[in-house]
């Protein structure tokens, strides 16, 4: 593993007599023959040095404090101030810049706590539309280097650059350096890169040297690198599995490495197999460009907890419309309606209901959601809720959405009415026409 960009290089890189290197400033690729840690061309110290540097091609790119970075870019006054992105009267920190992080602020922290830790912070309401747009721009830039870009969220993605050497006239590491430089220059934000031989390790690597990092984990040091990490570093190993492992005396990945694969499977079933493989740094998952959506949904957190059906239903209608809009835009339809709520003590509850036919109509999503909501509320009287969401799963092509129904002769008429509303909105904007119930 090699850190760079100011972090003191690890001793093992210093002795690398003939390690490969790429300069992160000028992109020069070379072999480091001496213990020089500066670029031979531009003399920059920002060299990535690693024995396997030119053989590795799986990368994970993660934007640094994405929302905050965009806000700073658009408002230079914020440049040297702590910035917290988060919303509303309550709500939580969704992102904060590195200055705020020094004060101990982190994402998902309740806003009041963040304000206490960092009273001088500038709090910016999130502008998701803007972030989405920037995210898509970055994705497009990534796709210029490889079609195998698998976004994990708006601000991170896996890239498979294996086999692009001839196309780009250099190894993946060099292409990545170029891509990072372009993002910094054209978009105006910084990213961190993890480069390795599979997804699991690439993702771990990108987190090692944030922000503006570039970390490499080669095959040779994979096992020893993982050995010191806690088992929680393995993706999908959540708190309960960690507890279970801790009960059996297992806390580090190194301990897992010493246990035979068969024993792990015997002890933990299929998850044991994952533990065995991943603890040894084996991850065969492919990079799948633009993974297919399994569900389409929208949710909202309230300013104040709600406990009445009427109040919740109002939000449900707006969200049903938003979910339906997304379905229509993606030309998809769902066969199951999923209602999600979060109680005031952060317990998430979901209810779902299969439909006779796939739908993309707000009207249908809402009417089923309403039934599920009423049942849920009557199951748990007196509960307060902080969030509600509604979505559809079991997605099929939009061509199959809402066929005529022998048991519902009016459905065709309702479908036509909703279509007419959609057309008006396309022409005159979202607020051009509203259903009575949303007022």
């Amino acid at each position: 593993m090699t850190g760079s960009a100011g972090s003191s290089p690890k001793p093992d890189t210093e002795r690398a007599a003939a390690a490969h290197s790429v300069c992160r400033d000028c992109g020069t690729r070379s072999e480091v023959l001496t213990d020089s840690r500066r670029c031979r061309v531009c003399k920059s110290p920002r060299l990535i040095i690693h024995d396997e540097l030119f053989q590795l091609g799986v990368a994970h790119i993660d934007c640094d404090a994405f929302y905050a970075a965009i806000e700073k870019r658009d408002n230079p006054d914020l440049q040297d101030k702590p910035v917290i992105i988060g919303g509303g009267r309550r709500g939580v920190v969704s992102t904060c810049c590195y200055i705020a992080r020094i004060k101990g602020v982190h994402s998902a922290m309740p806003m009041f706590q963040a304000k206490k830790l960092c009273p001088e912070a500038v709090i910016v309401r999130p502008d998701m539309e803007k972030y989405q747009k920037v995210g898509y721009q970055i994705r497009d830039m990534m796709r210029a280097y490889t079609p195998l870009v698998e976004p994990l969220s708006i601000d991170e993605a896996f890239l498979d650059l294996r086999g692009t050497e001839r196309l780009h006239g250099g190894p993946p590491a060099q292409s990545l350096v170029e891509l990072v430089k372009r993002i910094e220059k054209d978009i105006g934000i910084t990213v961190s890169v993890g480069l390795s031989h599979n997804k699991f390790l690439a993702k771990l690597a990108s987190d090692l040297d944030k922000p503006r990092g570039f970390s490499v984990i080669g095959e040779a040091e994979t096992v020893s690198f993982l050995a010191d990490l806690p088992v929680g570093a393995i993706y999908g190993i959540g708190k309960s599995m960690q507890k279970k492992l801790a009960r059996d005396g297992i806390r580090s990945i190194g301990q897992l490495q010493k246990i035979d694969e068969r024993d792990l499977v015997a002890r933990y079933d299929s998850i044991g197999l994952r533990l065995a493989r991943l603890s040894r740094g084996q991850d065969k998952r492919k990079i799948v460009p633009q993974s297919v959506a399994k569900s389409i949904s929208s949710e909202t957190t309230f300013n104040e907890d709600l406990d009445t059906l009427a109040a919740l239903e109002k939000h449900l209608w707006a969200l049903s419309e938003r979910t339906a809009d997304r379905c229509k835009r993606k030309n998809m339809a769902g066969t199951t309606i999923i209602l999600k709520v979060k109680t005031s003590n952060f317990t998430t509850l979901t209810r779902n209901r299969a439909l006779a036919d796939p739908t993309q109509l707000a009207d249908t999503i809402f009417s089923v959601g309403k039934i599920l909501l009423a049942q849920l509320l009557s199951d748990k009287p007196g509960t307060k809720y902080r969030l509600i969401g509604i979505g559809v799963s079991g997605l099929v092509d939009g061509a199959h959405a809402d066929p005529p129904d022998l048991a519902d002769p009016d459905k065709t008429r309702r479908k036509a009415a909703e279509k007419a509303m959609d057309d008006l909105r396309d022409k005159f904007g979202r607020s051009a026409i509203k259903k009575g119930r949303s007022l």
Partner: protein, 372 residues
Amino acid sequence: MKTTIERSAFLKALNHVQSVVERRNTIPILSNVLLEADNGVVTLTATDLEIEVRERVEAEIAQAGAITAPAHMLYDIVRKLPDGGQIELAKDENAERLTLVSGKSSFLLQTLPREDFPAMARDEMPVAFALSGTDLRRLIEKTRFAISVEETRYYLNGIYLHALEEDGAALLRAVATDGHRLARVQITQPVGAADMPAIIIPRKTVSEVQKLLEEAEGEVSVQVSDTKINFAFDNIVLTSKLIDGKFPDYTRVIPVDNDKVLGVDAKTFAQSVDRVSAISSEKSRAVKLSLDTDSLGLSVSNPDSGNASDEISVSYQAEPLEIGFNARYLMDITSQLDGDMATFELSNSGAPTIVRDGEDTHALYVLMPMRV
């Protein structure tokens, strides 16, 4: 309680009533069958709180009384006793247990107090009529395949039974639909049924009645209120709650001017559908029908496995038409037609299609096409 009962008669009755008892019950007493011995008769009662089945079996009663015992277990025991024997049932008065002795086999069963057994409220049943078992079977058998399982539209989870007058004929009509297909079957209205409220009989009741009718002979007397229905035949009485909901106005979805008429041999057609759909995927069961003068092409295209096509000769004189249907729905309908011929009345590839059973004007099916 003490009684001696013939094994085969007891087994038959137990078989009837235990069917209504759910395998898993949160209320323990609902797993039990109530046995009441009095006046030369043992009455067996089982319920799931929605349906109650009572059956009377003649027996020698040494001492009148009542007890409840686990229905499935009791049925299993009696089933495994040798044929032709007598069974002695007695309540062990102190320990509240049931002893069952037959030949050298004996059993001691845990019981629950008779008082805990929930009795279904006996409502007044203002409407009463009688119909033949054959007619009732027909109403059920020809419609139940179309009953919906959809939770949201619970009012579709049963058969809609109502009395009506059409073209001067008084009818009793059964309708079921799941939105994709609809079955409408009717019989001449039995005397006394004219004032019957329109009711929805739940799926489970429908299937219990159908099972009981399999061995029934003769007339079935039916009583109806707004909330309950009651079927009585032989020594059996089944009472069921009704679905409290409004069945949609199905008359609006039955097309009246479908002018393209296709006549097929029902069996040949069903076999051909079955054949081509062998390659269809679990997800999409669409089969495409291509109609041309006196010929019908059937085809299935599944991107994962391949294509299949078949052709059968039919009678068809209208302009060529291509239309898709769910293969299973086509087979569900054609498999329970009585006549040799099925008649399809079509309009276009997006409109509901009517299917008729040969010359039978009392059965009619509507089928929604699928996109193919």
